[in-house]
């Protein structure tokens, strides 16, 4: 039957062809059924391709029949699946039957039929591609993965939505050819783990029902997998700087960008304003900076500045930076630096430096005030010499070394706040070699050398002093004191007196030294004799250990060279003090300062109160043992010394003043034990104390005609006393208040002038004001005077006195001293 249907159609077509052939028009060409397809097994569609239309409008009709049925049906819906298609809805679709489908094209002339298509619905199932594919990267626990989501293919019939699709996903890096296909299952999302960071991927999905074929691949989706994949880290604001106090710029340092392109935004707010502004100019000052022009720059206002770094993963904000532009001014270096060599009147070259403030800085208006500092060094030098020059813009430099090349640099800074500019570029200047200057240098060297030699010579002289001098200049024996003319003494001319005393020789002679030794021996013997005659002999004698001689002050005094050294060294202590002393002594003994003053004062006191109870308390008790510390003495008498030397007092050799017992003992004995030659300070100090004490002793000795061992240092006195029982008093002319005053002799070192003779047995001597004195021999009787002065001022040696037996630091220049002056101190 089917065969018959087909053959009858062919007959009709044959007829149609023959008729059209005559007119140039013909029946339509044979259409072709392209495909039939079911999206979801419940409906299906078929599409055909028209043949030629034969020049006439052609209609297409789809006929179908089902297997085992004779009936032929026409397409139920030509519209739903588009042109040249036929849609079979649910009602017309039977999955259990095979459909036989033909398409017939018909025009005026005739018609033509396609080949029949046999369709089994279940075998033509192919869904549409999934839709709405979307991709994103996600990071969890610092692992990045790719997240894909999509929707099932849409269906025309919304009611039928219960289909289960299987999905497949494929992806590849954009630039590669091969796809990686992943079976997803029935879910509509998928997590792709381990995508390569920084690579751009292409992703597609397709789907399939449980039967049938895979759908087409969905449209492509692209995604960039981030590097590392994190928000940027906190940027840091490095600094803000205003070069001219009118504008300013802030710079920041970006931190890690988290693997993404990162944008930086600078935000700021001003004091007292809520509003937050963004940087007005990111460009002018270069990358990672923000430039605030004049309009945006206010002074005396705090800017709160932050920088925000942002990338696709997030953002991070720097710590706030607070800026008051007043304090961030850092100018540029000065410019127009010129170096010019000029010659001064004395033809010494000097350097004139001039410069200008940096061009940006407006110093003329007074808005900005700059201060400058320059530095220079010889080219090969290591250390810069830095000179602050204030606001001036020029500077003169003197005393540059000739023949050297100097490097000069300048920088500047605002007057109050802000910071120094960079140093200006190095400038060089060659200081010309000046022959005159060279000569000068030679002369200076010669001078220095010769003075060095002189120094050395004088040094040896000090050490070897007496002998050398004695060798060069033999001594002249002096006359005895008996020969002294009292009238001469009264007139007080020292030269005459001196000549009368007869020690013309300067320097002292070997004879003198011999005499000294003799004298010492004598003194010792006298000592022995005298001691028992003391009122308090037991104590006093105890306090004179003989064995101390070797190392004691006495020992020192016995050796003039040693002594001089000691004195010199001690003199070298506080030179300032000394000069004061000198002046005071010379000019106004009443107003003496420092040590001298102290000594004098205490002496005066001592003299005034003359061993009264109150006074005696200020002195060390006679009962004190030998090793008792001299601090006691300092307490009352020589406060200045105490202050200066208190720290070393402990080591000071004991000074014993054997004076106490109320009024009884008038013959204190001072024992100074120096364990150590190096303790010059202590020695010095003790000596001064001794002086004081000594004075007192002398005072005492006025009254009782005892032979005081103390007085023996005054050999001439001693001698005189042996005959006439006098004593020697020191008296200052200026001192009106005190009848007697023992003063430490000052610069002139000798009380050579005889002021007056009192009571026939008191010889009053006055210091001679002349500094450079001829040697004085005051010991005509014993012929042992060693009161020698060295006139060499530059030696500036210590001088040890003959007078009340102290070794006083003497600022002016004798390197000789009278050993006898020390004797009492060490007894």
């Amino acid at each position: 039957m089917k065969q018959g249907f087909v053959s009858s159609l062919q007959i009709i077509l044959q007829l149609a062809l023959t008729t059209t052939g005559l007119t140039g028009q013909s029946y339509p060409g044979k259409p072709t059924i392209i495909k039939c397809r079911s999206l979801e097994k419940e409906t299906f569609s078929c599409w055909w391709k028209p043949g030629s239309d034969g020049g006439l409008p052609t209609n297409y009709t789809l006929f179908y029949s089902k297997d085992s049925e004779e009936k032929v049906y026409e397409c139920p819906d030509y519209q739903a699946s588009g042109p040249n298609s036929c849609y079979f809805d649910k009602n017309h679709t039977n999955p259990w039957r095979t459909y036989i489908i033909t398409v017939m094209a018909t025009n005026e002339i005739g018609s033509n039929s396609s080949d029949p298509q046999y369709v089994d619905v279940t075998s033509i199932v192919q869904p549409d591609a999934p839709v709405n594919l979307s991709l994103e990267t996600k990071t969890s626990a610092s692992i990045t993965y790719l997240w894909a989501k999509w929707s099932p293919p849409p269906l025309a019939d919304v009611s039928s939505n219960s289909h289960v699709y299987h999905y497949e996903l494929r992806l590849k890096p954009e630039e590669k050819e091969e796809w990686e296909t992943i079976s997803v299952g029935v879910q509509t999302h998928y997590k792709v783990t381990g995508p390569q960071a920084g690579v751009k991927y292409v992703v597609q999905v397709r789907c399939m029902l449980d039967i049938g074929e895979w759908s087409e691949w969905s449209s492509e989706r692209h995604i960039q997998i981030p590097n590392g994949g994190s928000p940027p880290e906190k940027p840091t604001i490095i600094k803000c700087r205003s070069p001219e106090k009118e504008t300013f710029t802030c710079w920041w340092k970006p931190a890690s960008d988290g693997g993404h392109p990162t944008n930086h935004t600078l935000l700021y707010s001003k004091e007292g304003e809520e509003k937050v502004y963004e940087c007005p100019d990111y460009k002018t000052a270069g990358p990672n900076s923000c430039y605030f022009d004049k309009k945006h720059t206010s002074f005396w206002t705090i800017y709160n500045i932050t920088v925000r770094a942002t990338n696709e993963m997030g953002s991070n904000v720097s710590d706030p930076h607070y800026v008051d532009v007043t304090y961030i001014v850092q100018p540029d270096p000065p410019v127009n630096i010129t170096l010019e060599l000029k010659k001064s009147v004395n033809r010494k070259p000097y350097l004139v430096l001039t410069w200008s403030p940096p061009p940006l800085a407006d110093v003329r208006s007074g808005w900005l005030t700059l201060e400058y500092e320059l530095r220079l060094k010889p080219e090969e030098g290591e250390e810069w010499e830095t000179i602050f020059v204030g606001q001036q813009t020029q500077c003169k430099m003197f005393s540059l070394n000739p023949g050297k090349r100097y490097i000069v640099q300048i920088h500047c800074k605002p007057d109050h706040h802000g910071s120094w500019s960079e140093w200006s570029p190095e400038m060089y200047i060659q200081i010309p070699t000046d022959f005159r200057v060279k000569d000068m240098v030679v002369w200076i060297i010669v001078g220095v050398l010769s003075s060095l030699i002189c120094l050395i010579m004088s040094w040896t002289m000090i050490l070897k002093g007496y002998r050398m001098m004695a060798f060069i200049l033999p001594p002249v024996p002096g006359p005895k004191i008996k020969g002294v003319d009292t009238h001469l003494l009264e007139t007080g001319k020292s030269e005459e007196l001196l000549s009368a005393l007869g020690c013309h020789g300067f320097p002292p002679t070997s004879d003198c030294e011999e005499l000294l030794i003799e004298y010492l021996e004598v003194e010792d013997s006298e000592d022995q004799q005298l001691m028992p005659s003391h009122d308090t002999p037991s104590k006093n004698t105890k306090m004179i250990p003989k064995e101390t001689d070797s190392d004691s002050g006495r020992g020192s005094c016995d050796s003039p060279s040693l002594l001089s050294e000691k004195c010199r060294e001690s003199r070298a202590l506080p030179s300032a003090l000394q000069t004061q002393d000198v002046r005071a002594v010379q000019e106004n003994p009443g107003a003496k300062r420092s040590r001298e003053t102290q000594c004098t004062a205490s002496e005066q006191n001592t003299l005034l109160f003359n061993s009264e109870t109150a006074k005696s308390s200020t002195w060390p008790a006679a009962q004190l043992p030998n090793n008792h510390l001299p601090m006691f003495a300092y307490h009352s008498t020589v406060e200045a010394h105490k202050i200066v030397l208190s720290t070393t007092n402990v080591n000071v050799s004991p000074v014993l003043v054997g004076n106490e017992e109320k009024h009884q003992s008038q013959y204190p004995i001072i024992e100074t034990v120096h364990d150590n030659m190096e303790k010059q300070r202590e020695i010095e100090n003790s000596k001064t104390d001794q002086t004081t004490v000594q004075v007192k002793q002398n005072r005492h000795s006025d009254k009782p005609p005892f032979l005081n061992p103390k007085l023996m240092d005054y050999v001439e006195v001693h001698k005189v006393r042996q005959d006439e029982e006098p004593t020697v008093l020191l008296k200052h002319k200026e001192n009106n208040r005190k009848t007697e005053k023992y003063t430490v002799p000052g610069t002139s070192k000798e009380y050579t002038k005889v002021s007056t003779v009192v009571d026939h047995n008191i010889l009053v001597l006055m210091p001679d004001s002349r500094i450079q004195h001829t040697p004085v021999s005051q010991e005509p009787a014993m012929e042992t005077s060693q009161n020698v002065q060295q006139g060499q001022a530059e030696k500036n040696m210590s001088y040890c006195l003959t007078f009340p037996s102290n070794c006083k630091r003497e600022p002016s220049g004798s390197e000789y001293m009278d050993p006898s002056s020390f004797m009492p101190s060490f007894k």
């Binding site: 007292g272 007043t326 003329r364 208006s365």
Partner: protein, 220 residues
């Protein structure tokens, strides 16, 4: 410390006495007075000195009491003188008429009279306040008065019709300097010193500007 005092003394000598250049008076002239230039010189030296002091004082305080307390972030609330509109940059300062600028300087100086007196007394109560801070507080108070006198002198010399008409800004910060809570109290001091440093610098800057403008015709 000693050096500072020595510097100060020399500075004071210079500023107070103006020993360096006494004006040369024409014989018998009744109008023998210090020249305007000299007045400005002294004023500028004094303001420079005051600002140096206040700056040092602030730094000392900051170092000693404000470390790690984040005071600077809180200090952006302004100063009691912020009601006085003062030039904030060079252009503003150059545009303002010198009379107005002088009046502003006077106003700021006056506004500090009161707080400085209290500062000098209250600062004594800060725990373990170093001598340097105490001393500076007193010194600044005195020098501020002195500068105010000098500025009134200058303003008088310039023959303004209307002298000053008492612009000033009231300070009401005394209670905050006496707060029981140490942190708040220290912050009050911090803020006051911060403002003092700022205002003294303003004054110094304005005076230097005025000096260049009025005496040296903008050609310092």
């Amino acid at each position: 410390g000693l050096l500072l005092v020595a510097l100060l003394v020399s500075n004071m000598l210079l500023t107070k006495e103006g020993v360096t250049s006494l004006p040369i008076c024409p014989n018998g002239s009744i109008n023998c007075q210090v020249s305007l230039e000299e007045l400005f010189d002294r004023a500028v030296k004094l303001s420079h000195y005051i600002h140096s002091l206040s700056s040092e004082m602030f730094n000392e305080f900051d170092e000693r009491y404000a470390q790690g307390r984040g005071f600077i972030a809180k200090a952006v609330n302004g100063c009691h003188t912020s009601s006085l509109t003062t030039p904030e940059d060079k252009e503003q300062a150059q545009q303002i008429h010198h009379e107005d600028l002088l009046n502003l300087v006077l106003g700021v100086l006056r506004s500090w009279n009161d707080p400085l007196i209290h500062l000098a007394s209250e600062v004594q109560r800060i725990k373990e306040a170093p001598e340097t801070i105490l001393w500076k507080a007193v010194e600044i108070e005195e020098q501020n008065k002195r500068l105010l006198e000098g500025m009134e002198r200058i303003v008088g010399r310039l023959h303004f019709g209307d002298i000053g008409n008492d612009i000033s800004s009231q300070w009401e910060g005394l209670p905050s300097l006496q707060l029981a809570d140490e942190d708040s109290r220290l912050f009050a001091f911090y803020n006051l010193l911060h403002c003092l440093r700022r205002d003294s610098h303003k004054i110094d800057n304005y005076l230097k500007l005025l000096k260049c403008r009025l005496i040296h015709d903008n050609n310092c």
